[in-house]
Amino acid sequence: MSTILKMKNITKIFPGVRALDNVCLDFEEGEVHAIVGENGAGKSTLIKILTGAHVPTDGKMEIYGKEYSHFTPHEAMELGISAIYQEFILVPYLTVAENIFFGREQTKGGFLSKAEMNKKTRELCLEMGVEVDPKAKVMDLGVAYQQIVEIVKAVSQNAKILVMDEPSAPLTTNEIDAMFNVVRKLKSKGVTILYISHRLEEIFEICDRVSIMRDGQYITTAKTNEIAKKEIIAHMVGRELGETFPGGAGSTDEIILEADGLCTRKINDVSFKLKKGEILGFGGLVGAGRTETANALFGIDSLDKGHIKVNGKLLKVRSPKHAIQNGIGLIPEDRKKHGLILSMQVKENITFSILGKIKRWIFVDTKEEMRISEKLQSDLSIKTPTLKQKTRNLSGGNQQKVVIAKWLATKCDVLIFDEPTRGIDVGAKQEIYHLMHELTKDGKSIIMISSEMPELIGMSDRIIIMYEGHINGELCAGEYSQERILELASGQEFGGLGA
């Protein structure tokens, strides 16, 4: 086997973040090469550099013996690099054949030659060992078949290197087996596959080699038959918990919120209790149902089954409005999209949910508004020239504080933090952590969804770990280690350690 692609000292710096740091990787022709790492390890950035979506800050790539400082998206395609993302890039209203030949339609005398395209599509699919009706509309296909269409499309473009980003995530067990067969077919045709997955079992089943990344750095590469799962996990987490976390207030035994058997379209039988003054961490992989649990509590997704009690009182949450009235606040993951109105002033954002309470006759009581905003500004030390500043002009950390201020203004007792420090610089992170502890000392209770292991371990009084829509385990203070959390998050049964 010969080396097809070499990444040499690739570094990618985003403002404030070193997403990739001196990464060196080799890929061999016709191998299935797994790339693993925690959220934020740099896998997505790596893919984007390969497909030409990002330009590396430094480093070189060598393909077929030729050196490049970066690829344009067009070059990447010409060189035979394709990627299959978690979100498929297909046109749902077109047929399978039309999608596969999208942008490269076969014509005869200026007209589309549908019969020809359908025939070629059928042949390509049969080569992969699957049968798909070329005339079926993509929107009518199941996820597994849509994925096949993506793969066939890549193959028809002469893909030599195929990046697959979490390909098994949307599939059932049987479908995964079928997908593996396709991968083996591709491999036998000499296609190199970069297989990105959180599910370590799969990697042992389908991959030849595995490379491990952590915090933007390349750690090591090993043959899958020469490395144990425990070793992989150890490499993935292998950092010291560098950041310091303020000591917690310690929770009381008083139960403030109780979720019992919550079921929505995305989660299944989620039950837990939140104590007053507690920070309850929610760990798990992206898509494990943590945000969806928050959505159920906050009335965004409607409950199919189960109930929520706040302070022992049964609660029917039909909309965010009800949740807020019952003292629940949500600090969403994407604060720009869901948390703030960037075109509004800081003070207007802070008081947005309590305008009904600060009125004088029918008008907003602007003096009261200013008083409340100034108080929260100094409590949370929000840095802004004036409270009349448009929120879009604030830094990420300060924007996050404005969202928190908004919920503190509603005087809610339960705060759900979804990825509280995403996209926030280190200094501001520490401030947010301190703030969260101050809040629990004031008797607020916090549900914290976090994909950052140090944060989860450092901040939580208890950690619930979710996997594929249900709770897969709960760890109390003193019980948790990064390895244990990662094992539960990647689907191992509770108690089933050492597997």
């Binding site: 965010p320 948390g339 075109s343 947005f352």
Partner: protein
């Protein structure tokens, strides 16, 4: 932290004021009669209809919506009031019924937008044609004359012999609109829906209710404008208000209200309205051919929208 004075920011904020002044000076020089007392009052009388409607349109655009049906609602209001008056109904009652009907028509717009999730552009486009048809059907295509002259004071009346009543109505509506948008929580909610609808919903605000209110206000004010127009032209014609949506939207966008919603101040909208009034009137005074007027007005809208896009894109880069 002290903010530096930025020429670019100043210009982008007050551009419309400068352009209005320039336009004014241009017509003053180009036409002998433009600045006559008579004509200035004429301008104020003429802008009143567009001005009243533009307050409602401002609210609609702030929610990132649009209302193309305003011109046709003016037409419906015009003929409905005439029919009621000719039937011998008390003028006050006729006006009240018309306003309620027009508010309900606005609410119907919001029904399609909220309940059936039809984009505002399409919903109100459909309503625009439908209601124009209704206006013609009510009168059988003919204008209606000969009703109680009590109503004419709304269109032709003067206070202290100098200030036209339509202008007073317009100013009152602008003040109410300003109080509503800038001083009440409903106003904040309107800005919120346009700025970030999802974040607004997640802040516990009933977004649908906001839209019902906004489109109803737009319908109501179009009705009021229709009555003022009727009182001025003294004839219930089904053609009334034809094409006004164009003038109104141009005025509002010229006044700095973003077509993507969430940003804009009603104080500047009145400048946009004056601009459209001065432009229309000045072109007539200079005997500009009607087709040329269309070209210029259409271009004014495109220029205003392009300017808005440039400003918004620049902000998006900052954020």
């Amino acid at each position: 932290m002290k903010r530096k004075f930025n020429v670019g920011d100043f210009l982008s904020k007050y551009a419309i004021v400068l352009v209005l002044i320039a336009l004014f000076v241009f017509f003053w020089i180009a036409s002998d009669t433009f600045l006559s007392r008579m004509n200035v009052f004429n301008i104020f009388k003429q802008v009143a209809v567009v001005g009243i409607v533009s307050v409602g349109m401002t609210m609609v655009l702030l929610t990132a919506g649009i209302d193309l049906s305003v011109g046709s609602i003016i037409g419906v209001a015009c003929v409905l009031t005439s029919v009621l008056l000719v039937s011998g109904m008390n003028a006050g009652l006729a006006i009240l019924i018309t306003l309620v009907v027009c508010a309900a028509l606005g609410m119907l717009n919001a029904f399609f937008i909220n309940q059936l999730k039809i984009p505002p552009l399409i919903t109100t486009l459909g309503m625009m044609t439908t209601l124009r048809g209704v206006a013609y059907l009510i009168t059988g295509g003919m204008p209606i004359f000969g009703f109680d002259s009590a109503i004419l004071v709304l269109g032709k009346g003067m206070v202290f012999d100098v200030i036209p009543v339509p202008m007073i109505i317009m100013i009152v509506i602008f003040i109410l609109g300003w109080l509503f948008l800038d001083k009440t929580r409903f106003g904040r909610h309107i800005y919120g829906v346009g700025g970030n609808e999802e974040a607004t919903r997640l802040s516990g605000i009933n977004v649908k209710k906001v839209k019902y209110i906004v489109y109803s206000i737009s319908g109501f004010l179009s009705g009021l404008a229709g009555i003022v127009l009727l009182a001025r032209i003294n004839s219930g014609t089904p053609k009334a208000g034809d094409g006004y949506e164009m003038d109104v939207i141009t005025a509002v966008v010229l006044g700095g209200v973003s077509i993507s919603g969430g940003e804009g101040k009603i104080g500047f909208v009145i400048i946009g309205v004056m601009f459209m009034g001065v432009l229309t009137n000045g072109m007539i005074m200079l005997n500009v051919q009607e087709y040329v007027q269309w070209v210029i007005k259409g271009f004014a809208l495109l220029a205003a929208v392009s300017f808005d896009r440039v400003v918004q894109n620049r902000k998006a880069k900052v954020a």
